[in-house]
Subunit: 306 residues, 2 copies
């Protein structure tokens, strides 16, 4: 009987059934990780292990971490109920759950933890291009809770000898995104022959294809870089240009209507990542520019109407 080959590192993934989660599973598998999902919903991928466990039950999660000998953690789970998550009191449960999860992970022998943060943590009263050391000052409970959790994670992981990274995601879009989001809602309208419905769309945002964001998280799991890392492309696109591009892709530029909804005056004009940590230190490169990414999302939506 010959010895078994060296085992691949095992990544425990929370939120694996979510929009970014499903893309992250593919990106991690593509890098040769053993992937084990925990949470409520099985990811439905036979290559991915799964333990149904309440993530707020720290001892149960710790037992899974020990059972699968997880060395890495990718923690994506958080409150995401559309329209409600910004101010939902469930954000407090995720502060609590994440604090207990990272402790359980470290004490079960985990060595490297990566967390999904958000560009909402930054101070949006300023707007513009954000570096990772731009001040955090969110107007939302969601952003405050994410930022507070990052502070705890940073201090604790430093003490516990756990390598950590916190990816602040800008504006992800792509196959599988929630139906109320800009790109998917616009595609649905165009395919149904309805006019698009939006503000004037002058806001410039850093849109990132979910597969590219997922690859960024896989790179964070697979590297020794520590700290906060913006997960954005560094390129801003006006919302109006996203809608116009989708109108052209659909062959229905006639359905593009801008300005039917008021522009929210509290929304900053520009929210773009300084992506130099990701592209430089981590050598990440976007696979999709905005036009290709919107085309991919449009085509996927055609293949999987819902």
């Amino acid at each position: 009987v010959s010895g078994s080959p060296a085992a691949a590192p095992v990544v425990l993934v929370t939120g694996a059934g979510g929009f970014l989660g499903r893309h992250c599973l593919r990106a991690l598998l593509g890098r040769g990780f053993d992937v084990h999902a925990v949470g409520r919903t099985a990811p439905g991928d036979p290559r991915v292990g799964f333990s149904p466990v309440d993530l707020h039950d720290a001892p149960a999660v710790a037992a899974v971490i020990r059972g699968v000998r997880a060395t890495h953690l990718l923690h994506l789970a958080w409150e995401v109920t559309p329209g409600k998550f910004w101010q939902s009191p469930n954000n407090l449960d995720w502060v609590a759950g994440t604090a207990l999860l990272v402790r359980a992970f470290a004490e079960a022998g985990g060595r490297h933890a990566v967390f999904a943060g958000s560009c909402v943590e930054y101070d949006w009263s300023v707007g513009g291009v954000y570096t990772e050391d731009s001040p955090s000052a969110s107007r939302t409970l969601y952003g405050v809770c994410k930022d507070a959790t990052r502070r705890v994670v940073q201090s604790y992981c430093g003490n516990a000898g756990v390598r950590w990274a916190w990816g602040r995601v800008f504006f992800p879009y792509g196959p599988g995104e929630p139906a109320d989001k800009l790109v998917t809602a616009t595609i649905r309208a165009l395919k149904a022959g309805r006019p698009t419905r939006s503000s004037a769309g002058t806001q410039v945002r850093d849109f990132i294809h979910a597969a590219d964001a997922a690859e960024a998280f896989a790179v964070l799991v697979d590297s020794s870089v520590q700290g906060i890392v913006n997960v954005g492309t560094g390129v801003g696109t006006a919302v109006a240009d996203v809608i116009r591009t989708l109108g052209r892709i659909a062959g229905r530029p006639d359905l593009v209507r801008l300005g039917d909804l008021p522009t929210n005056p509290s929304e900053p004009a520009t929210l773009v990542a300084d992506a130099r940590r990701l592209t430089g230190e981590l050598a990440w490169k976007a696979r999709f520019n905005i036009a290709d990414g919107l085309r991919d999302t449009f085509d996927s939506s055609a293949e999987n109407p819902s």
Copy 2:
């Protein structure tokens, strides 16, 4: 049968059995509150109600809050194991416990919550006199976790319509303080006829008598002031002066020895509260200056040797 008089507001107190907690119970009773303690240890005061409950068991705490119809919360409990609390992983459990506690309190109908923070939350690389908007940047897990929790509390309470205050305690001393703290350790040495043992004692700190700190918390519970409030006197005293004063009070100035221990170079020279919110907006006034406070502590220690 005549109607009962209007009920006094009910304050739920965590950490009631701790050093500050015992002083706070007296201060709250003195202001006419009904006081109900929760936690592991009964406060042993017949005027104070008590429910033994694990503070990390949010549903159990919520049941107590509803049962006693608590309108106010004074949350003092946290990790305090001497010598260990600065970097203890238990700080994460208190981040989690506090987030779940404040949610349970608000959802059970609580209207006003007061929390014990710490001057350790401030950036000690600077030193000096701290106002409430001085930057937070603790070097300790304890300070980071307290500060992160305050951020969550501030955002959540704003949403939930709960009045909140966060008292940042400077350097409390007084009857009942842990035996390893400066004042009590010095009193013990002097009473045992041993020389005092300290650094040169040039560090200037804002020492506050525990009864005065407790009165500050009672004022916060009893007022409509919101936000962060320094719980300090605004007066700094050198550690050497504290030791010399105790030597005189003991009648043993000959036992005062300064400089036997090295001065920790990472300790800031001065840590003093700007106490104008407390003394101005809240009209709090210290009962003890440092000499009277040390005398009181010395006398209490004589009455209750341990």
